[in-house]
C-alpha cells in the first residue's frame, strides 16, 4: 500500500503543475500585471512610475512564461510563472499583493472555516443516511413517496435562498441566534448554529436521494434476501448489512471532501461573516490578488488529491477484498 501511496503522490506533481499553469494562464488572460498594480495602488493619482516600481518589487516586471532576453534555461526560469510557482511547491506562499503574509492568513482562517464545515459534514452525513434509510425502510409507502417529493423540492431551491430565508426566519423574526458574525472561544457556538443548520438543510435533498438510491440498489441484492431469510429484523438488515455495503459509494463522495473542509464555503462565509478561507478567496478574486488566488487554488488541488488518496485507503478499510497495489 505504501508503494501505491508514493506512486500516487508522484502522479500528483504533474497534476499540480498543470493546475498551476491553467490558473496562471486564466488569471493573466483577464488581468495584466499593470491591472494588478493599479488595483493595489488605487484609482486616484496613480503614476506610471509607481506602477513600474510596484511590479519590480513583486517580480511582476518579468515576462509571463518565456524570457527572450535570457539565455538557456534562464529563458524559462526568469519568468513570472516559474518564480511564483517554484516557491509554492515548497509551501512558501509568500505575500499577498497588499503585503500581508499568506501562510499567516491561511493558518488564522483555517479554524473558522473548519468550525462550520466539519459540523455540517458530520451532522449532514448522519442526517442524510438516517433519512435515506428511513425512506428505504418505508419504501413504496406514502412516507417514501412524500420523502422523495420533499427531497426534489429541497434540491430545487438555491442555496442562497436557504441562507436568506434562514437568516430572515431564525434570526430576524424569531431572534433565536445572531444573523451573522463570529466570536472567540465559547462565544463561537451561537454563531455556528444557523450556518450549520442551513448547511445541512441545503444539501439534504440531493444527498438523501442519492443515498436512498444506493441503499435501494443494495436492498435488491442476494445477501439482503439471505439476511431476511435468516429471520433478521429489518432494522438489523438495514443498519448492519445494507449500510455497510453501501459505504463504498458513500465514501467516494464523502472522504474526498474531508481535506477540502479547510477551504470553507465561498457564499456561506460571506453571508454569515465567518472569517474563513472561503471569504479570503472571494476577497482575493475581487481585488485581483494573484498571489492569494494562486495559493488557494494550489492548496485546493493538493487537498483534493489528498482526499482521493484517502478515499482509496478508506476502501481497504471497509472492504477487505480491496488491495492497493
Amino acid at each position: 500500500m505504501l508503494n501505491y501511496i508514493i506512486r500516487r503522490l508522484f502522479y500528483a506533481i504533474p497534476i499540480l503543475i498543470g493546475v498551476n499553469l491553467i490558473t496562471f494562464t486564466l488569471f493573466f488572460v483577464v488581468n495584466t500585471p499593470d491591472d494588478m498594480a493599479r488595483m493595489q495602488l488605487g484609482i486616484k493619482r496613480v503614476t506610471p512610475d509607481a506602477i513600474i516600481k510596484w511590479k519590480q518589487e513583486r517580480g511582476y516586471d518579468k515576462p509571463l512564461l518565456f524570457n527572450e532576453g535570457e539565455q538557456g534555461l534562464a529563458q524559462l526560469t526568469r519568468t513570472i510563472f516559474f518564480e511564483k510557482s517554484v516557491a509554492m511547491f515548497a509551501f512558501r506562499f509568500g505575500r499577498a499583493d497588499d503585503g500581508r503574509d499568506i501562510a499567516y492568513e491561511i493558518k488564522s482562517r483555517m479554524m473558522p472555516s473548519l468550525a462550520i464545515a466539519l459540523p455540517v459534514f458530520v451532522l449532514g452525513l448522519g442526517v442524510y443516511v438516517v433519512f435515506a434509510l428511513t425512506m428505504v425502510f418505508f419504501r413504496a409507502t406514502y412516507v417514501d413517496f412524500w420523502g422523495v417529493v420533499l427531497c426534489v423540492a429541497l434540491m430545487s431551491i438555491s442555496s442562497l435562498f436557504y441562507i436568506i430565508a434562514g437568516q430572515f426566519l431564525i434570526s430576524k423574526l424569531w431572534h433565536l441566534v445572531p444573523i451573522s458574525g463570529y466570536g472567540q472561544h465559547m462565544d463561537v457556538a451561537k454563531f455556528l448554529v444557523l450556518p450549520v443548520i442551513i448547511g445541512v438543510a441545503s444539501s439534504a435533498g440531493a444527498n438523501t436521494r442519492w443515498y436512498r438510491t444506493l441503499f435501494l440498489e443494495e436492498m435488491g441484492k442476494d445477501y439482503v434476501r439471505t439476511a431476511r431469510a435468516k429471520g433478521l429484523a429489518e432494522s438489523i438488515v438495514l443498519f448492519r448489512h445494507v449500510l455497510r455495503n453501501a459505504l463504498i459509494p458513500i465514501l467516494t463522495g464523502a472522504v474526498v471532501v474531508i481535506p477540502l473542509l479547510f477551504l470553507g464555503s465561498l457564499i456561506a462565509e460571506s453571508f454569515f461573516g465567518i472569517p474563513g478561507l472561503g471569504s479570503y478567496t472571494i476577497d482575493a478574486i475581487n481585488s485581483q490578488d494573484f498571489a492569494v488566488v494562486r495559493a488557494m487554488v494550489f492548496l485546493g488541488s493538493l487537498l483534493y488529491i489528498v482526499g482521493l488518496i484517502l478515499t482509496d485507503i478508506s476502501y481497504t478499510l471497509v472492504d477487505p477484498r480491496i488491495r492497493l497495489e
Binding site: V46, F168, G181, G231, F272
Partner: protein, 743 residues
C-alpha cells in the same frame, strides 16, 4: 479526564442558561460583558489595505487612520463651507512667500512673483503617543525592542505579545520624518507624484533614497533599515522641537488642505525602526497593520477578517467639542455638548459585514448604530412627502430612527472622449459639429428622471463640474447651465427635446441621420461589465438617445479593459465619477485641465478635453485665494465648459444615513473623517431597545418539536408492526425456499 470534559460541557450549558436568563438577547452578536458599554457599533464591508498614513487613501482606510493620527490641521466639524482649523498645530500655519532670490514677499504678492512658499507650522506641546512597544525602554534607558534577537522574535506573534510599552512626546521632527517617507522607495505613497511637483527637493530625495536602499541591498546587510534622519530634505525641516517648515515651489494654497489629511500625520522614527526588524513583517507586525498615533483613539484589535476595534487613547491630550456652528445646529442640538472634553465614546467596534442584507437587519435589531440605505431597502426606510422631501418611513419612525442627508462633495458624470472623431470632432468644422452633437445629447439625457428612477431621488442634477458646498459653486438662476436649462417659475427647467433636435441637425445629423453618408448615427457607450440589475439603466440610457433617433450601442467589458480603453483613449462615451479630496474648486476643475489628459499624460482628465483658454484661466485660478476675483474666473471657466460640453454633468449624489435615537451629534459629510470623537451614544437607551426588539420567539421551536414527535410516533408504530410482521412472514409459504438458501 472524562470528569473534566463533563465539567466543560456543564459550564457551557450553564453559560447558555445564564445568557438566556440574564435578559441578554439570544441574537446579540456581541459578548454579554459589553452590554450597556459606551461603545459605538459599526460595520465595514471591505478590509482596509493600508493603515500606514503614507499609503492609505481609500475611504475605508481613512475611516480608521483619521481617528488614530493627528495631522496638523482638521476641518471644523460644524461650520459650512468647510473651514480648516488647527488639530495638532498650535495655530494655523504661517505662510511666507519668497521670490527667486529668497526675498520675502508681501501676502498679497502676485502669484507669478512667488517662487517658493514656506509653511511654518507650530505644534502643540505636551501631546503624547499612544502606548506602544516601539517606545519601551529598559532600566538603562535603551530601547527594549529595537534589536530583537531571533529567539525573542520566535515568541512574538502579535503586537500584544510585547510585555512592555512606552510613549514619548510628539515632536516637530515626526512630521518632517513623515514627509520624507512620502519618497521612501519601499512605500508607495499615492500622493508622491503630486507632492514631488511641489515640495522642494522631494523628487531628488526619492532618487537619493533609492540609491541608498540599493546600496544596502548590494552590501547584503541583514538590517536594511533606511534611517531617513540621515538624509536631509530641503523642502521639510525642523525649526525647533515644536516647529517645522515645509517649503513648496510657487504658490499652492490647496497645500493647506493636504495638511488636514493623514498623509501629513506624524510618524516617530522609533516606530519605523521597530517595525523594520526582520521577522516582524512575516507576522504581519507592520506599521501598515498596527498604526501608532497621538489621536483620540488607538487600534486595539486588528482582525480585518472579523473585527477592528478602536479604543480611547489613554495618552490623548484632550480637545473640546466646538462651541460654534451654523444657525441650524443649535436647533438640532448639535451645540448641546459645546466645550465638553472629547472623545465621548470609549470604544468603537467595527465588524466585517460583507453582505448588505445581514448588515441592514442587524441595524434594525439595534446591533449597528447607523446604516446607509441600499436601493433594496430604500422603500422600507424612506418615504417622500408631497413636496419631494425625504423622511423616514412610519416603520422607522416607530423605532426612533432618524434620517440625515447631505449632498456629497462628489460628482457622477458621463464623459465624451474628445479624441474620438465623432463626439470630439476633427478639424475646425468637425469640432464645432461635435460640440453641437454633445450639447444636443446633454439636453436629451434627462438626469432628473435618472436620479428619480435609479437613485431613489438621492442626487442633485449637476449644472457643472463643481459640487454644492464647494467654493465656486453657484445656486439659483445664476448657477444654471444655459445650454441645457431655462429658468422658469423659480427653478431650472430642462430645454424641450426640439431644442436638442435642432442642435443635432446643425451638427449634421438631422433626424439622427448622417447628412454625408445617409446612415443613422450610431454612438458607443463603454461601460464596465454589469449584471442583470443594471439592464434597466442601460435600456433607459438607450431610450434617452433614441429621443434624438441616435442608436446607442452598449459596449460592456470587464473593469480592467474598461480602464485600459480610457487610458488609451479608445472609449467614446463613458460614465465616471470623482470624490473631492478637499473643498476647493481646483479639485474639480483640474479634471478637465488639458495637461491632465489621460492619453499621453496619465492624468485625471478622462475626457482628454483641452481648451487653451480654459487651461490659461485654470492656471490663474488655481493659486488664488477664494474671493470675488476667483469666483469671476471660475464662472468664466464653467461657462466655457458648459459651452463645450465635454461631459454630461450628471448629478451630485446625496448621502442618506439612518441613525438610531441613541446616536447623537451627527453632522454628516464626506470630507472631514475624524468625526468619531464628536459622536455620542446613549448606551442605556440602546440596551433597553435591544432587549425590547429582540425577545426570542420560542413557539417555532416548540412547534418543530411537536411536528417531530408527531412524525416519529406513527413511524414508530409502523416500525414495530413491520418488525413483528417479519416474524409472521417467516412461516408463510416460500420460507422453505429461503431456508434452503441459508443451508
Amino acid at each position: 479526564m472524562v470528569l473534566k470534559t463533563q465539567f466543560k460541557y456543564l459550564m457551557l450549558l450553564l453559560a447558555i442558561f445564564v445568557c438566556a436568563c440574564s435578559g441578554n438577547p439570544w441574537n446579540n452578536p456581541y459578548p454579554a460583558k459589553d452590554a450597556g458599554g459606551n461603545i459605538l457599533y459599526s460595520a465595514f464591508a471591505e478590509r482596509p489595505k493600508h493603515l500606514d498614513p503614507v499609503q492609505s487613501y481609500s475611504s475605508n482606510e481613512i475611516l480608521f487612520t483619521a481617528q488614530i493620527y493627528e495631522p496638523p490641521l482638521q476641518y471644523h466639524y460644524l461650520k459650512r463651507p468647510f473651514t480648516l482649523i488647527p488639530f495638532a498645530a498650535a495655530r494655523m500655519p504661517e505662510t511666507i512667500y519668497l521670490d527667486r532670490n529668497g526675498t520675502r514677499l508681501p501676502q498679497n504678492a502676485d502669484a507669478e512673483q512667488i517662487a517658493y512658499t514656506i509653511y511654518e507650522i507650530p505644534i502643540k506641546q505636551g501631546i503624547r503617543y499612544q502606548p506602544h512597544p516601539a517606545f519601551a525602554r529598559d532600566e538603562q534607558g535603551e530601547f527594549r525592542y529595537h534589536h530583537l534577537p531571533e529567539e525573542e522574535l520566535a515568541k512574538i506573534h502579535k503586537l500584544n505579545d510585547f510585555a512592555h510599552t512606552g510613549s514619548r512626546e510628539l515632536a516637530a521632527e515626526d512630521y518632517v520624518f513623515q514627509i520624507k517617507r512620502l519618497a521612501h522607495p519601499r512605500l508607495h505613497s499615492p500622493i508622491f507624484g503630486l507632492m514631488s511637483d511641489y515640495i522642494v527637493g522631494l523628487k531628488e530625495y526619492s532618487m537619493i533614497l533609492q540609491t541608498a536602499a540599493a546600496a544596502r541591498l548590494d552590501e547584503q546587510r541583514v538590517d536594511t533599515y533606511l534611517d531617513l534622519k540621515n538624509f536631509p530634505l530641503e523642502g521639510a525641516e525642523v525649526v525647533d522641537t515644536y516647529t517645522y517648515r515645509v517649503k513648496i515651489k510657487g504658490k499652492y494654497p490647496q497645500f493647506m488642505y493636504w495638511l488636514a489629511m493623514p498623509f501629513f500625520a506624524p510618524i516617530p522614527w522609533e516606530v519605523e525602526r521597530f517595525y523594520s526588524q526582520k521577522g516582524l513583517a512575516e507576522k504581519n507586525i507592520t506599521l501598515d497593520w498596527y498604526p501608532v498615533g497621538t489621536g483620540p483613539y488607538m487600534l486595539s484589535e486588528n482582525d480585518p477578517n472579523r473585527v477592528m476595534i478602536l479604543e480611547k487613547n489613554p495618552n490623548y491630550h484632550g480637545e473640546t467639542y466646538p462651541s460654534e456652528g451654523m444657525p441650524d445646529d443649535i436647533e438640532e442640538g448639535l451645540l448641546a455638548d459645546a466645550g465638553k472634553p472629547l472623545p465621548f465614546i470609549d470604544k468603537v467596534i467595527y465588524s466585517r459585514e460583507r453582505e448588505s442584507i445581514p448588515r441592514w437587519n442587524k441595524f434594525l435589531q439595534g446591533y449597528y448604530d447607523a446604516s446607509n440605505i441600499g436601493s433594496d431597502s430604500f422603500d422600507q426606510a424612506v418615504q417622500l412627502s408631497g413636496q419631494g422631501e425625504a423622511t423616514v418611513s412610519d416603520e422607522m419612525k416607530e423605532q426612533g430612527i432618524r434620517l440625515e442627508t447631505a449632498v456629497a462633495t462628489s460628482t457622477n458624470y458621463m464623459g465624451f472622449n474628445m479624441l474620438d472623431p465623432v463626439v470630439g470632432g476633427v478639424g475646425k468644422h468637425g469640432r464645432e459639429a461635435a460640440r453641437k452633437l454633445r450639447q444636443a445629447i446633454s439636453i436629451a439625457v434627462d438626469y432628473e428622471e435618472y436620479v428619480s428612477i435609479f437613485a431613489n431621488g438621492r442626487g442633485v442634477p449637476a449644472q457643472g463640474p463643481i459640487a454644492p458646498g464647494i467654493a465656486g459653486h453657484r445656486e439659483g438662476k445664476e448657477g444654471i447651465n444655459p445650454v441645457v436649462y431655462d429658468w422658469e417659475n423659480g427653478r431650472p427647467q430642462r430645454k424641450p427635446i426640439e431644442a436638442a433636435r435642432a442642435l443635432l441637425a446643425e451638427a449634421g445629423y438631422p433626424g439622427g441621420m448622417d447628412v454625408k453618408t445617409g446612415a443613422p448615427l450610431v454612438l458607443y457607450f463603454d461601460v464596465t461589465a454589469r449584471g442583470a440589475e443594471d439592464k434597466a439603466s442601460l435600456d433607459w440610457m438607450r431610450k434617452q438617445f433614441q429621443k434624438l433617433n441616435i442608436q446607442l450601442v452598449v459596449r460592456s467589458t470587464d473593469y480592467n479593459r474598461f480602464q485600459d480603453k480610457i487610458r488609451k483613449g479608445n472609449a467614446q462615451i463613458f460614465e465616471w465619477g470623482w470624490n473631492a479630496d478637499y473643498p476647493d474648486p481646483e479639485n474639480f476643475l483640474f479634471l478637465l485641465h488639458g495637461p491632465q489628459q489621460k492619453v499621453g499624460e496619465e492624468g485625471e482628465n478622462a475626457s482628454n478635453y483641452s481648451n487653451p483658454e480654459y487651461d490659461r484661466l485654470f492656471e490663474r485660478m488655481k493659486n488664488m485665494e477664494n474671493g470675488p476675483q476667483r469666483q469671476k474666473i471660475i464662472d468664466s471657466m464653467v461657462s466655457i465648459l458648459r459651452h463645450d460640453a465635454p461631459w454630461l454633468w450628471g448629478y451630485h449624489p446625496r448621502d442618506y444615513g439612518l441613525y438610531h435615537a441613541w446616536y447623537g451629534n451627527v453632522k454628516p459629510n464626506r470630507l472631514s473623517n475624524n468625526n468619531v470623537k464628536y459622536w455620542r451614544i446613549d448606551a442605556s437607551l440602546r440596551e433597553q431597545k435591544r432587549r425590547e426588539w429582540n425577545k426570542p420567539v420560542l413557539w417555532p421551536v416548540g412547534l418543530a418539536l411537536i411536528v417531530l414527535v408527531a412524525g416519529l410516533f406513527p413511524a414508530l408504530v409502523v416500525y414495530r408492526r413491520k418488525e413483528r410482521g417479519m416474524g409472521i412472514q417467516g412461516s408463510v409459504p416460500g420460507a422453505n425456499e429461503f431456508g434452503n438458501l441459508n443451508a
